[in-house]
Structure formats: C-alpha cells, structure tokens
C-alpha cells in the first residue's frame, strides 16, 4: 500500500475515533491534537481548554496544566510533530484544502504572499498565540482562545447548530469567532497547511519536540547526499509545510508526512528512528 494512502487511512481512522462520543464513549484524556470538546461527538478534551482552565484569572491548577502538556510531550518525544501529519483532523481538512492552495499558488498574488520575506517569521506567530492568547490573556483578564477558536466553530458550534437547529442562539463570542473562522478558511484555501504553519497553538507545543524526537526525517549521510543530490528541489516543492528540505535538520515545522521521501528521485531522504 502506498505510503500516502496509509497516512490518509490513519487520519480517517483517528478522525472517527476522536468522535466516538456519538456512541456515548467519553474519556478523561486530552486529545494530543487540535479538536474541540464542544463537538457533540467528542470523546476527549481539547488540550487548550485544560491549559486555560489551569490558569484562568490568575488561578493555578498544576495538574490541568501538566496533563495535556505531558500527553502532547509523550507523542512529541516519540514521534515529534507526526501527530499533525498523521492524526490531527484539522490536518486532514488541510490535506484536502492544500490541493486547492497548491493550484492557487500559480496566481502571482498568492505566490507573492507565500514567498514574502517575512513568511519565515510568521511561523513564530503560533508561539505568540500559545503564550499570549491561550495563557496570558486567560490568566490576566479571563479572555480565552477557545471563546474565539475557529476550530471550535468548525467542530463544535456548527455541528451543534446543524444537529439542534432550534435549540440554540449565538452568544456574543459567536460573531467574532465566525469572522476568525472565515479568515481561517481563506488561509487554508490559499496557503497549504496555513493554520499549522502560522497559528496552531497545539503545533507550537509539539514543534520543539522535533528537536529530540525518536522518529524524524533526515537525509542519508551528508557525503552520499552531496554526491548524489540532483538539486531538483522536488522535496521542498512537495513539502506542505514549506520547509527547505535539503537544508533541514530536525526542523520544528516538519510534520513527518513523508512527501519529500516519496518524491526524491534518488531516495536520499528517509525516516530515522533514533
């Protein structure tokens, strides 16, 4: 079975297992990826909600802070950001929209945005989202990221409105979150994996683990690589995260999707387990 088909099956399987709450199966774990516990079918808790609860308005509940971080840390140490590429339902969604984003890249304006010199710096925005909106504003003024979360709108609010059309009305956060959700849609349809690259706070927790994870993507030995690489740039062109693959070394953005491994004509890129 082709590698990318295996990855797609993994994403679909995990999407369904994340929604077993529809059959009454609910756990006390946090998802190790971005998914909303407000989803009518959710089985587990959003890791960001647990973090927010732990620091809300200056309170400090160390267990609720540590629990999601340790769950994410466990997956991070073993496989880095593979969760983003192999498990996250929002990653699955962006896998679909990524094809459109790739086609739109032919248009000069979209290409210009994607290739702009500030683009690499925008990748740090997700760390600001995590520290600023998930932790600081929650702790200082009680303003929580989950109140305006676009993923919450997609996986919690909209399914609830569809399932129970006459039961609920929007609250004041709804309209702000809806605008952010529309921007989220524009982003993921114009920039491949735009949410993962720039804004995902869960990705921001997982990203540093790429530096020490057991499983990672690496080049074959430097000597062989320098001798055999055709410099065709197929690997970097295929990368949904926009990484310069030939120069990467345990890049925090790598989601271990394996697309670079698939397209390398000389098979100079590989998964490594140490």
């Amino acid at each position: 079975m082709k590698f990318q088909i295996k990855r797609l099956l993994s994403q679909i399987l995990i999407f369904f297992s994340a929604n077993l709450g529809a059959f009454g199966f609910k756990t006390g774990f946090c998802y190790p990826f971005f998914y909303c516990n407000s989803c009518p079918a959710a089985t587990s808790a959003c890791p960001l909600r647990a973090i927010e609860q732990s620091v809300y308005k200056g309170s400090f509940k160390w267990r609720l802070l540590l629990f999601p971080i340790l769950i994410l840390g466990f997956f991070g140490v073993t496989s880095g950001r593979a969760i983003c590429g192999w498990a996250c339902p929002i990653g699955l969604l962006q896998r679909g929209t990524g094809k459109i984003a790739r086609k739109l890249k032919k248009y000069p304006l979209i290409k210009k945005i994607g290739d702009h010199k500030i683009e690499p710096y925008l990748r740090y925005v997700k760390y600001f989202t995590l520290i600023g909106i998930v932790i600081l504003t929650t702790a200082l003024i009680g303003f929580m990221f989950t109140d305006i979360c676009p993923v919450g709108i997609l996986t919690g609010t909209l399914p609830t409105l569809i399932l129970y059309p006459s039961k609920f009305v929007p609250n004041p956060f709804f309209w702000i979150a809806l605008i952010i959700f529309i921007l989220f849609l524009v982003l993921i349809f114009t920039i491949e994996r735009g949410w993962c690259r720039y804004f995902c706070p869960v990705g921001a927790i997982l990203a540093p683990f790429n530096k020490i994870s057991f499983l990672h993507v690496s080049l074959v030995s430097i000597e062989i690589f320098e001798k055999e690489c055709l410099h065709c740039n197929a690997c970097s062109n295929a990368c949904p995260m926009g990484i310069d693959v030939t120069n990467m070394n345990r890049d925090p953005e790598c989601i271990l999707c394996g697309k670079c491994i698939d397209v390398c004509p000389k098979k100079l890129i590989k998964f490594e387990r140490n």
């Binding site: 709450g21 006390g28 808790a45 909600r49 020490i212």
Partner: protein, 211 residues
Amino acid sequence: MKKMLVLQISALIIVSGSLGGMLFFTDVYEEVHSGIVSVLCLSCLKLEPKTKTDFTFETAYGEPHPDFVLDNLSNGVVFLHYSEDACPGCDIMYPVIQNLFNFTFAKEDTVYKIFSFEDSDVAYFYTNIDHTSEEMENSFPVYDKDHISGLPMFVIITLGYEKGIIKPYYTTVYGTLGLDNDKDRIAFLTELIQESIDIYNQNREGYNQNQ
C-alpha cells in the same frame, strides 16, 4: 549521537513516568472527564440555549430529586445555581445573582443560604462544579431539563399539582438568559422567582415530602 539518545530516553522516562504518576496518583482523569468533556462551557460553544421558562415535573433523566432539595422544599422555593471556574458566561451571571440576593460570596465557595424574597423563603444553593461535593455535582444532570449539559445553569424548584399529588415542579434556564444587560437579567430572574413563589403558595398546603 549517544548524547542525543540519552536525552531522548531521559525525556521519554520523565514524560511517561510523570503522566503515569498523574493518572495513578491524582484524580486529573476524573477532573477532565467531569469538568471538561461531560460539562460544556457555553461560552466555548459560542452558543446559548434558547431561554424557555416552562415548568416540568420530569427530571432530566428520570432520576429522583436529591434529598437536599426535598428537605428545603418544605419551607419554600429552591434556587440552584451551577457554575465552573473558567467560564466567561458564569462570570457574567455571578454578579447578577449577587445583586439579586444582595449577598456576596467567592466564586469557588459552596453556598447554602435562606433568603427572604417578598415575605417568602427562598433556599439558594450555589455550586461551582470544580469545587463541590459529590452530592451537589450529581444534582447537576438531574435538572438539566433541555439536555444541554452546559454552564452556567439555574434551576428554580417549586411545587406543582399533578394527578392528585403535589410534587416538585421546576424550570431550568441556561447561560446569560439570552439577555444583554444585568438589569434585564435581574428583572427576568425576579419575575421567575415571583412566579415560582405564587405557584408554591397555591400548592404548599397539600405537600407531603414523603409522598
């Protein structure tokens, strides 16, 4: 290479050991299960249930009324207020209730107090489900009339007449009551309590707790 392997193994031992320890020695699993997965913060859902004030005899899942409600119902209307820690909707409603009863308390307190409301007693219970007893927490789904499982939630229990029996009769409202300001929220709750007291006064003579 060896250094990296030592770092990786150390990190894995620390992370998995701490996670296992937390699951084994603390009740964090239960805390997440009951506080986040099973109970929704309505502001996170970005929606509020439509406010319906119709009274009913049927508890949400057919469970009996808790003893602490039945005990207090002999003396007057019972008002239950459910809240949680990280919940902007709960924060909006917290001062509304304090103004309504002209009484202050901390958000993480558990409160039981009898108030005189237009010459009638109202037993007020405030429950923060992150800091409460099992009995109070278990009463939350009993009164989740519309099967919302969301917070904040307010329940007013009075006495009603059905098929020759006087029995507990209640309504539940959720969120910020679908209203924009505190003045309207206080007026809404005042009217609801007054209505409950009127119904209570019509039926109190025939009430037998053990029926």
